[in-house]
Symmetry: C2
Subunit: 204 residues, 2 copies
């Protein structure tokens, strides 16, 4: 008895993974409105009904794909050792971020420009990524909780993440400067901002 049950569950997971992979590739290549569930079912060689069994709506498929991409992004950025010097961590974090942005350009842009509309789940994914970046940045810095909870510090870190996002969205569509220059510019801007607005966060 346990064996067939397990086999069915494995198949279910595999099917889900296959559909997610197809969806991610479709949403990365095309805009949300241009992705058709019919095409995805055809590619997966299953009925539309079965696809809807796994993901009841196109939106569910999109949000699930987004969560996966967001999780990978956070994993990449947060896997950087926190014992490196802060400037080096920021540089490596930006490299990981820009790798990800380049790889998922279309999905990234539509995500950040709100590809699916005013969707609370999408906002939650995006906000979650931002919050984890901010936490990662603060981890390993010689800061006290008073500094971390300083609203000015939170405004500054959040703003810098907004800076990086805006510039990255623009850079996907229009790579005005080479990637390495972009990374250095973004790292340098963080230092300038911190020096000006929150010098207490900069290690001496």
């Amino acid at each position: 008895m346990p064996r067939p049950r397990r086999r069915v569950r494995l198949d279910t997971d595999e099917r889900r993974a296959q559909l997610l992979a197809l969806a991610r590739s479709a949403f990365s290549a095309r805009s949300y409105d241009d992705v058709s569930v019919d095409d995805l079912a055809r590619e997966a060689k299953i009925s539309k009904g079965l696809l809807y069994h796994y993901f009841p709506t196109k939106r569910d498929l999109y949000v699930a794909g987004l969560r996966e991409i967001a999780e990978e992004l956070v994993q990449r950025v947060t896997s950087i050792p926190t014992n490196l010097p802060p400037v080096e961590r920021v540089r490596q974090g930006l490299d990981a971020y820009l790798d990800h942005v380049q790889q998922h350009a279309k999905a990234f842009v539509s995500l950040m420009r709100g590809g699916i509309g005013s969707d609370p789940e999408v906002s939650q994914v995006v906000e979650g990524v931002r919050a984890r970046f901010a936490a990662q940045f603060l981890e390993g810095l010689p800061v006290t909780s008073t500094m971390v909870n300083d609203p000015k510090v939170q405004v500054v870190i959040r703003g810098w993440i907004g800076f990086v996002e805006s510039v990255s969205i623009d850079w996907c569509a229009n790579p005005r400067i080479p990637r390495n220059e972009l990374r250095e510019l973004l790292a340098q801007i963080l230092l300038s901002i911190m020096t000006g607005a929150a010098p207490q966060l900069l290690p001496r």
Copy 2:
């Protein structure tokens, strides 16, 4: 002959303005999905059919309202005299921007978070506003066209606008610091960024 014709046109314009005002107030108070065309028609005391004569879809109504709000925002920010000292212009520009954000908080947040989804017209409105802010900022500065066309300068200005947008969205939902402090912080960050990344743009 000319008189009745003009009267009809005036009525049309008035009706359009009335519907736009109702729509703007509705979209400012509620999310896109929660605004109902039926309710708007009822408020305007007209049939849904007549409303659709002016605005064929809810999306058209939304985009028209957005354009008007965006135009007012640009007017406010660009009406600041360019002969003031740059720091004072930035400060006044931020004041005008934050006034507008406070007044249209809901519409602003849903606009910037992509309230209507991946919509090319909405993106165009938002991008248009950003481009005009960037142009306004550069106007009156002692800069040459070589400086203005420097891709690094463009990245920096665009990024700062992203910084201001992110922080403002967050501030609408969660006003961590008083408005005056926020304005000063944003102005100071622009100066820090410019000093670090594009000192040639700062007047001596």
